[in-house]
């Protein structure tokens, strides 16, 4: 893989980050790359690989050491997503849904009893986690969600539906948002709870090495000790986690773009047309040059944002900007790779068609481009309003 031309301290601020990158890169090369194509083709999640990722310590990357995690920062999470995505975006999305949407989210919102009950099992990958926010008729408009929870005795009774939930077909445990008296609240729901079920897998264009399904909540009995935080605290929990989620997704875009540039470069040096390597044609150079510029810009933005974000440090506009820019840029880089490879790009062999399918997701999942534009404008307007 091509390394960055930017200051290496930006992407590996400490020796630990550098070692982390090397470990994940090696793991990706040896364990993730060889299985990636098969799982994309079959559209299934490699749960055994997720266990291995757990053994390495990657699931608890942002969880403090005293709770069995690695105690690393947002930059470390970005490194892990970037490196794994070089080989397998779909699997990395499943990892993100588990490690960030569930484990990180739960850890920072939960009390010690809940941490004890759920973190040890999920941090190893023994149990798979998922997060349910989106509903069939409320996506971007989160506050418009219709799932409700009503207190009855020692339980809350949940009713509603959640859609597009990554890992749902395999997951043992879910972080579910539901309204108590109209106020959004988070709950831990196990797949075996009475009244809980999951639909058939939802088929999708890309990210096929991760799975998704709909959650069907019909009078689900959730013990009161599984309410996370306080009634009405769901939005706070959701917001606390959004920034690292977006950084993770942006880092996935960077990893995908790295791969596409790598393929494009090798191919354009080898492929001959009109008696010379196609890398010598100006129009091909335009794809390569623009892609490289986009990648270095993504990198600067993502790592610059990551260093400002942590459990106690918020920076919403930067995380929105990183994902907005990276999602689009990676899609364009993947498209360039396909163009440079011509017919070989459109066919499966070089996998750029997969990366193009996968890259598109980042413009939609975890917040659409339009949602990021809306957030950014709202945050910036606050700065100028008197």
């Amino acid at each position: 893989m091509l390394s960055t031309t930017l200051n290496p301290k930006l992407v590996n601020p400490t020796e630990e980050h550098e070692m982390l990158r090397q470990t994940v890169r090696e793991f990706t090369r040896k364990e993730i790359e060889p299985q990636a194509e098969e799982y994309d083709r079959k559209g299934i999640l490699n749960t055994e690989l997720l266990r291995k990722v757990g053994d390495l310590g990657l699931i608890g990357i942002t969880i403090p050491e005293e709770f069995g995690g690695a105690g690393m920062d947002s930059t470390a999470a970005v490194i892990a997503h970037e490196e794994m995505c070089f080989s397998d975006p779909g699997f990395t999305l499943a990892y993100l849904a588990h490690a960030l949407l569930f484990v990180n989210n739960l850890f920072y919102a939960a009390n010690d009893d809940q941490r004890k009950r759920y973190i040890p099992k999920t941090i190893t990958g023994e149990w798979i986690g998922a997060m349910g926010m989106t509903e069939p008729s409320a996506g971007t408009d989160v506050l418009g969600m219709g799932t409700v929870a009503v207190k009855r005795g020692d339980n809350y009774i949940l009713n509603g539906r959640k859609i597009f939930i990554t890992n749902a077909p395999e997951a043992n445990v879910f972080l579910v948002y539901a309204k108590v008296d109209g106020r959004i609240t988070s709950f831990i729901v196990e797949s075996t709870f009475k009244g809980f079920s999951v639909s058939e897998k939802i088929q999708k264009m890309g990210m096929r090495a991760s799975t998704m399904a709909e959650l069907i909540l019909e009078d689900v009995e959730v013990p009161a000790e599984n309410l996370v935080g306080r009634e009405g605290g769901g939005i706070t929990n959701m917001m606390r986690n959004l920034e690292i989620e977006r950084l993770g997704l942006a880092a996935m875009s960077l990893g995908m773009a790295n791969r596409c540039l790598d393929v494009m470069l090798r191919y354009s040096n080898e492929r001959q047309a009109f008696g010379k390597p196609i890398a010598e044609f100006g129009q091909v150079q335009s794809h390569i040059g623009e892609s490289f510029a986009k990648i270095e810009a993504m990198r600067g933005l993502i790592y610059g944002a990551a260093s400002t974000i942590g459990p106690d440090h918020r920076n919403r506009p930067a995380s929105d900007a990183a994902k907005l820019f990276a999602g689009r840029a990676a899609k364009e880089v993947a498209d360039s790779a396909m163009q440079v490879l011509g017919g070989y790009g459109y066919c499966n062999e070089y996998r750029v068609e997969q990366f193009l399918r996968d890259a598109k997701l980042i413009e939609i999942g975890g917040g659409t481009n339009e949602a990021h534009q809306k957030n950014i404008t709202r945050d910036l307007c606050k700065l100028v309003q008197v």
Partner: protein
């Protein structure tokens, strides 16, 4: 059991080597631990642990002779699980195999380990000399290209198997000794230490530095020394004059029949 593992940093062998003005251009190199040395670290860790219980029983000391930023590779070994590191400062250009061996002898004299375990060769220069030279300087028994190591019950000897042309050769060495390792040393059951149950099967290959290992590594001791501290001086006797790529291979030929093959082998290749 105390094991000294000398490690060298090398440019990532998976990446393309660039040659500029008759020298390797290392300006953009990404450095990694020499593959065979990483195997030696893995073997040393297996020799000094109970893998079933995840506990350590012994000490693994890694040493490198190299520039300041070679500390990163030492930290990687600590992150894999080694206990302690020694960094002897030197520029790569001022070293050859003999100077490295002399320096390692000085480290050995200070550390007095039960075994020196190292890669059979470094994948950059591929000289395959340091282990042998070190054993000679120390006047210790040596086994090279180890495919497996079995520690004797009393911990005073080990049996090393080596794959040779005629089959597998077994050597029993009294300790302390110098052992260089080949790639089979990281197969699932290549190490027997009398502590880890013999039924234990390791994953094939060297272990990854886990994230916990990485976070622990910075708290582990790393000694910084110079060659002068160790009383080693001198300049390399082997000098690098020029680096060139091997000539590109001529294209192969496809023959129609055995007769044609034999004819070509005898007339063109003069191999028969």
């Amino acid at each position: 059991m105390k094991i000294l593992v000398p490690v060298k940093r090398v440019p990532d062998p998976e990446l393309k080597a660039n040659i500029k003005d008759g020298k390797l251009d290392l300006s953009g190199a990404q450095w990694v631990v020499n593959t065979f040395d990483e195997y030696a670290v893995e073997a040393a860790l297996r020799l000094t642990e109970n893998a079933d219980e995840g506990s350590r029983d012994g000490e693994v000391v890694v040493v490198t002779i190299g520039p300041d930023d070679a500390a990163v590779q030492l930290r990687s070994c600590l992150a894999m699980g080694a206990d302690r590191a020694i960094h002897v400062a030197s520029e790569d250009a001022n070293l050859d195999s003999l100077l490295v061996a002399k320096t390692l002898k000085a480290v050995y004299d200070e550390e007095k380990p039960d075994m020196v375990l190292l890669g059979k060769q470094a994948v950059d220069g591929d000289t395959n000399q340091v282990g042998q030279m070190l054993a000679a300087l120390l006047n210790l028994p040596q086994a090279t290209f180890a495919a497996s190591i079995e520690l004797a019950d009393d911990g005073k000897a080990c049996v090393v198997s080596r794959e040779v042309d005629a089959g597998v050769e077994f050597k029993k060495l009294p300790l302390p000794a110098v052992v260089t390792v080949d790639l089979r040393i990281v197969s699932p059951t290549s190490i027997t230490n009398g502590i880890t149950p013999e039924s234990h099967e390791y994953a094939d290959g060297p272990r990854y530095a886990s994230l916990k290992g990485i976070m622990k590594a910075k708290k582990k001791p790393m000694d910084n020394k110079t060659m002068a501290d160790l009383g080693v001086s001198g300049s390399p006797v082997v000098k690098e004059l020029e680096v060139t790529l091997p000539e590109a291979r001529a294209a192969g030929q496809i023959v129609e029949s055995v007769e044609e093959l034999v004819k070509k082998l005898s007339e063109e290749a003069k191999a028969l």
